[in-house]
Amino acid sequence: MASELDIFVGNTTLIDEDVYRLWLDGYSVSDAVALRVRSGILEQTGATAAVLQSDTMDHYRTFQMLERLLHAPPKLLHQLIFQIPPSRQALLIERYYAFDEAFVREVLGKKLSKGTKKDLDDISTKTGITLKSCRRQFDNFKRVFKVVEEMRGSLVDNIQQHFLLSDRLARDYAAIVFFANNRFETGKKKLQYLSFGDFAFCAELMIQNWTLGAVGEAPTDPDPQADDMDMDLDKEFLQDLKELKVLVADKDLLDLHKSLVCTALRGKLGVFSEMEANFKNLSRGLVNVAAKLTHNKDVRDLFVDLVEKFVEPCRSDHWPLNDVRLFLNQYSASVHSLDGFRHQALWDRYMGTLRGCLLRLCHD
């Protein structure tokens, strides 16, 4: 006696959160059934394995039908076929667009192209995330990217509006899209210690301060050819950053800067001597990173450079985080007292963001 056909359709679509998670995680029906059995559901409910199998199949079928709508979440809200309470709709969308930390670290900053998609098998084996789930997550990134790519206005708002994601998740996606667009290198070995959260934090700061949209004068610039406001870094700004070079190129300026910082921090820093010894190196590192950002290649290596030039030296000298903070504050603030330096605003725009990023990057 084989069940040829076995369906259950409710006027209100039944969503089982646990099964949804299994489906999202890319388990096959039989794997999902096995996992559910292991969860002890049979004992709790007195159901049989056959019942569980039928139930799982049913949910999987529903999710497959919903998937098409989940690709464009506003459609899920306006469609008439599935009657789903709004709270459940939100849950469906949120979970569908949620991603695994391990996975996102693998693809963050990579081009969301066919080529990367082909590597998903490797990522799947490496991370232990099913290939199916990897594909869903990758396709989500790509879909969000495609939709907001050509859009003007706030990246987070655009994502939120077109994918109805929670604020938190929309911000994460903004970071992913931003990284994918600028192709920041995140996969190098020395960057492995960084979490997605670290990068997302930096991305947010950079979007806020370093992109064209960040200038806040968008309405005055009617040029439709302008770069995507939140996706691309402000080219002009990057060009201008070359001007900062004077801070390390001009010996007097560098010495003055050092003495200002040292005076201010004397006695306040546990690692004062190390700082003093290293100041020029560190300053050179930070300023050179800025000056190089005109080249795309160097933009991509931004995080590698920051870690190499700043995080690692600090780490090798065992700077406590608080000392890093004090140093960076003083380091950026002291520039204002350099009379010979004319690019104060530029410096603030650069260093304000960089300071935040560096503090976040400084951990083990």
Partner: protein, 1041 residues
């Protein structure tokens, strides 16, 4: 031109991509009514076209308005080749034809294609201007209201219940016409959908005419069915109960309006020469020459005492006077005569209602049923459907005579059904024989009826159990006792009925779903031989189904069945029987005896031991069930009656025959050898299996209850969460194990597993009750069994439920009070309903709190729970606020939202798409139905030639049923409603051909579109909710303009 139909096409959305090159669509719309067609402009290159058309106006007869559906076709314009159809929407404009229902149909309708399913949505506005001055209701019957609900609709009062109306129309099935060989499947499906839509319109109109003739203004319990007879044609038939209803809120305003047309109707017989209805209404000479007919009295002689004998044995008046004398009191006699005369004029004193106004139902006799096997033949002349009419007339006549034999003059809870396989058709009818109060059946005497009703029914909760037949001249041997409730009159020891449990019935404990399942193999045969074989099998099946029901009822420790529905389905090589009912313990009836097992040949000790072991198991089960369903009858009864279980043998024998009404007389003779259904003789493996199967029925998991009636006896504290669902299963039998036992086991497992799955799926709703569980079984192919279940799960308040499990004394006390409450409830409901809700909310509160004399007033409790709901709802809104999608927060959300708002459909409190509840019940827990908007009756065909790609048969059917739900909801929302009550899936015919990667499915659903208002909202946000529910249609239209 008595009517002007106006249609406006506003916009479309989510259209499919029809032009691969541009990924867009150039859509336009054709609007067709009758033979007139209008077109909109082509809206180029958009998947969300804004046509915003002018008003297309059709000037039409009201006859056409009733028959024809409005047909809207969305097409993709193609310059070089033929335009491609995207899909269609059929809109039944009937609800616009009577004044109280909807005034406008407006909203988003799914665009449906029979091959591709739903493909986007279209926003349409439809209005009708009726020219009332030309009030010549000739062929049309505009203004008659139709209700699927099988009780008096909630916001109406029955002035007169006129009685049975029936009609059928036949036609050739387009699927079997020669042209079908050359046209596309799509064209064929559409022709079929359109034809059925037309036929049901025509049917409804004709029924309406009959109602007008009877001077009624409404049809309640309207049940329309299709018989797909294949080659021989397509039959659409309907039955219902004609009533004169009075709207409760404005009685004065409505009555004259409906009476006037009916008065004019009087002239119809004279004006109208070729009245098309006369064939069907009269018992016109049955033309048997066309078909080989197996009339029940001949080939299918289950009823030896049928028709003729019954009539002669129990002459109408003799029966009445006889029992009246026994019961004493001239009033009863008078009542009987009155009713008799009121019903005598009627050809068939049948009522499709299953629940009645208090006082309507006087006595219940028992279930009466009749079946007949017919051979189908091509319908030669569609305009003269005599054959089918004669078939049904025959069956109804039989039912009537059975009722007479039970001393009853009426049949309530009446329904008809068919099962067709190839050219053989089983027609079935069943109902409950009853004695009715004449007051409702006649004009006049309505005033003051309420008071009298209450007086008269003083032995509350048991009156209907008292036997209607003459004790000395019983139609069958039955064991009678004095009513355990009032101790004045006689009651049978078991009662089977097809109706719902009366509101005032005194019940002990809770009820439960009881099913009997049976398969019988049958040789494959042709035509007459086949029909004979089936006819011969039927009585045995009925007998066994009954035995099973009785055994299971006893096993549950209960003594009455309500909502009994026995379905016999015919397939190529087997017959299936499925009986569902809700078992209860009626306080008025005696405690059921146990089940005794007897070994016929007690030859050795181990066998004896085995028997006693089984016996013990059965006794344990009974005890366990009694506990589970809280059946603790007061024990005093036993003293008075003596031994409650006299002679098990004798008793049970009586029980069976009683329940079977007069039907089983022959049966009894046949079964003499077996002697007693409740002394189960284990003489062969068959019987062993019977006993085993009895014990294998697993009770639902704790927290779950199930019933197939409207309300679950013993639970009355519903909370507002409801979940209606349809579940379909098809199993393939391996041809190896085709024995009756194996079949029975398979079928039993199928049903049990299905129930188990339901319990599992709905576990989050615990504590809850599955109500109106409706199983249908069919045999689509040789080795396939299809079971379809539709039901609704309703949550209830456990705390209150626990209160009822107390000591006997306390319990019975409480029961008494709740009974009182229930008794009072109806009239009170009338009062509170009649208050137009907003003006006097305090008065309503007062009434309700006064009505309940126990603990917290019901109204208050409801309010509490709904307050919690409200808070929950608010919490939800807040949570949703974060994703900026809800309408409520839309204004607060940032830029870019404007675009959004445009696309969002009618604003509603809960979601961007208004929530439409669906339920097979006639009510919505925790809510008041404020308006009936009209009947929903829809028929869909879906076909695929890419079955695998659509997820196989399960994927295909799952999607289709979801689409059907969506279309029903959309139509209800467009009428301005927010729920469908009395929803029923009347047909779900599924055919597959996996080898060709094809499948086809036909679904027919119906129900009543209503507007309901939550009881909490009536008080809290009385202004907001109606606005939200009534306006979606209007605003939906406006938003996009």
């Amino acid at each position: 031109m008595p009517g002007k139909l106006k249609v406006k096409i506003v916009a479309g959305r989510h259209l499919p991509v029809m032009d691969r090159a541009s990924d867009l669509t150039d859509a336009f719309v054709e609007v067709k009514f009758g033979n007139t067609t209008f077109k909109t402009d082509v809206y180029l290159k958009s998947l969300n076209p804004q046509w915003n058309s002018e008003w297309f106006k059709f000037e039409v007869d009201d006859e056409d308005l009733q028959d024809e559906p409005l047909q809207i076709t969305v097409l993709d314009h193609d310059t070089y080749s033929a335009n491609d159809a995207i899909g269609k929407v059929y809109i039944d404009i009937d609800p616009l034809l009577y004044s109280e229902a909807a005034t406008v149909i407006s909203g988003w309708f799914p665009i449906y294609d029979t091959i591709h399913g739903i493909r986007g949505e279209i926003n349409v506005v439809v209005k009708v201007d009726l020219f009332n001055d030309l009030n010549r209701f000739r062929q049309s019957s505009c203004g008659i209201k139709f209700f699927c609900t099988t009780s008096i609709p909630k916001c109406y009062r029955a002035v007169i219940i006129h009685g049975f109306v029936e009609e059928l129309v036949v036609n050739e099935d387009p699927e079997y016409q020669w042209i079908d060989r050359i046209r596309t499947p799509r064209a064929s499906n559409e022709a079929r959908q359109r034809l059925i839509s037309l036929m049901s319109g025509e049917l409804q109109r004709k029924i309406g005419l009959k109602v007008l003739e009877m001077r009624g203004n409404a049809v309640v319990g309207y049940l329309q069915c299709f018989d797909l007879e294949g080659e021989s044609g397509l039959v659409v038939r309907a039955i219902g109960t004609a009533c004169t209803l009075d709207k409760l809120s404005s009685p004065a305003a409505f009555l004259p309006a409906c009476n006037s047309p009916s008065k004019e109707m009087k002239e119809i017989p004279f004006n109208e020469d070729p009245n098309p209805n006369t064939h069907s209404s009269g018992p016109s000479t049955p033309l048997k020459n066309q078909t080989y007919s197996f009339s029940p009295s001949k080939s299918y002689s289950r009823q030896s005492s049928s028709s003729d004998t019954d009539l002669s044995l129990t002459p109408k008046t003799g029966m009445g006077s006889g029992s009246a004398g026994k019961e004493g009191g001239p009033f009863k006699a008078l009542l009987r005569q009155q009713t008799q005369s009121a019903l005598e004029q009627r050809e068939f004193p049948f009522f499709t209602l299953t629940a009645f106004p208090p006082g309507f139902l006087v006595h219940v006799g028992g279930v009466v049923s009749a079946r007949s096997v017919k051979l189908l033949d091509r319908i030669h002349n569609p305009d003269e459907p005599e054959t089918r009419d004669a078939w049904w007339a025959e069956i109804r006549q039989e039912i009537k005579s059975h009722a007479k034999a039970l001393g009853c003059h009426a049949v309530v809870g009446y329904s008809e059904s068919t099962s067709i396989c190839e050219e053989v058709c089983i027609l079935s009818a069943s109902g409950t024989a009853a004695v009715l109060n004449p007051r409702f059946l006649q004009d006049g005497t309505v005033e003051g009826c309420l008071e009298q009703r209450l007086e008269e029914n003083l032995p509350a909760g048991c009156g209907f159990c008292h036997i209607p037949y003459d004790e000395l001249n019983m139609p069958f041997p039955a064991h009678l006792t004095y009513c355990y409730n009032c101790r004045k009159q006689k009651v049978p020891d078991v009662l089977f009925t097809t109706i719902d449990l009366p509101m005032d019935a005194a019940v002990i404990g809770k009820g439960c779903l009881i099913q009997a399942r049976l398969c019988r193999l049958k040789k494959k045969a042709q035509a007459e031989a086949n029909a004979t074989a089936i006819s011969n099998l039927l009585p045995f099946m009925e007998y066994e189904v009954h035995t099973q029901l009785m055994n299971k009822l006893k096993l549950k420790g209960m003594n009455a069945l309500f909502g009994l529905r026995i379905q016999i389905s015919v397939g190529e090589n087997m017959l299936m029987g499925l009986a569902s009912a809700t078992g209860v313990y009626l306080a008025a009836l005696p405690t059921p005896g146990g089940i005794q097992i007897a070994g016929k040949t007690p030859n050795d000790g181990s066998y004896e031991q085995h028997i006693s072991h089984m016996q013990k198991k059965i006794n344990d089960t009974i005890a366990k069930n009694k506990e589970l369903y809280e059946i603790n009858p007061p024990e005093i009864c036993e003293e008075i009656i003596g031994s409650p279980i006299p002679e098990p043998r004798q008793r049970s024998r009586l029980l069976r025959s009683q329940s079977e009404s007069s039907d089983e007389v022959t049966e009894l003779d046949l079964s003499h050898g077996k002697k007693d259904a409740f002394v189960l003789e284990i003489d062969d493996t068959d019987a062993m299996e019977d006993v085993h199967s009895l014990l294998t029925d697993v009770p639902p998991p704790s927290g779950f209850y199930s019933c197939n009636t409207e309300i679950m006896p013993g639970i009355n504290n519903w909370t507002s969460e409801i979940q209606m669902f349809t579940s379909v299963r098809v199993i393939r039998l391996s041809s190896l194990n085709l024995t009756n036992q194996a079949l029975n086991k398979n079928f039993n497992d199928l049903c049990e597993n299905l129930l188990k799955s339901l319990y599992f799926k709905l576990r989050s709703m615990i504590p809850c009750c599955l109500c109106h569980v409706n199983f249908t079984v069919s045999l689509p192919e040789d080795e396939l069994i299809q079971v379809t279940v539709t039901a609704v799960a309703i949550t209830f308040d456990k705390n209150q439920a626990l209160q009822t499990t107390k000591t006997h004394a306390e319990k019975s006390l409480q029961r008494a009070s709740t009974d009182n409450e229930e008794l009072l409830q109806f009239p009170l409901e009338l009062c509170s309903d009649s208050l137009p809700s907003h003006p006097f909310p305090p008065a309503k509160e007062h009434l309700e709190s006064a009505s309940s004399n126990s603990g917290i007033p019901a109204a208050q409790r409801d309010r509490c729970s709904s307050w919690i709901e409200l808070i929950k709802l608010k919490a939800q809104t807040i949570r949703r606020g974060s994703i900026k999608t809800t309408v409520t927060v839309e204004k607060a959300s940032p830029v870019g939202e404007g675009n959004f708002r445009n696309r969002s459909s009618p604003p509603c409190a809960n979601s961007t798409v208004g929530v439409v509840k669906m339920t097979p019940l006639s009510f919505i827990p925790g809510a008041k139905i404020t308006k009936y908007l009209g009947i929903i009756n829809m028929f869909f065909i879906r076909e695929t030639t890419s079955l695998r790609e659509e997820g196989g048969v399960s994927g295909f059917l799952h999607a289709f049923i979801a689409e059907v739900f969506a279309m029903v909801r959309a139509h209800v929302a467009a009428l301005g409603g927010n729920a469908v009550v009395s929803y029923i899936m009347k047909q779900c015919v599924f055919m597959e051909n996996p080898n060709k990667n094809q499948a086809q499915c036909l679904i027919n659903v119906s129900g009543d579109a209503v507007v309901f208002v939550r009881e909490s909202e009536l008080e809290v946000v009385s202004t907001q909710q109606p606005a939200a529910t009534c306006q979606p249609s209007c605003t939906g239209g406006e938003v996009t303009t």
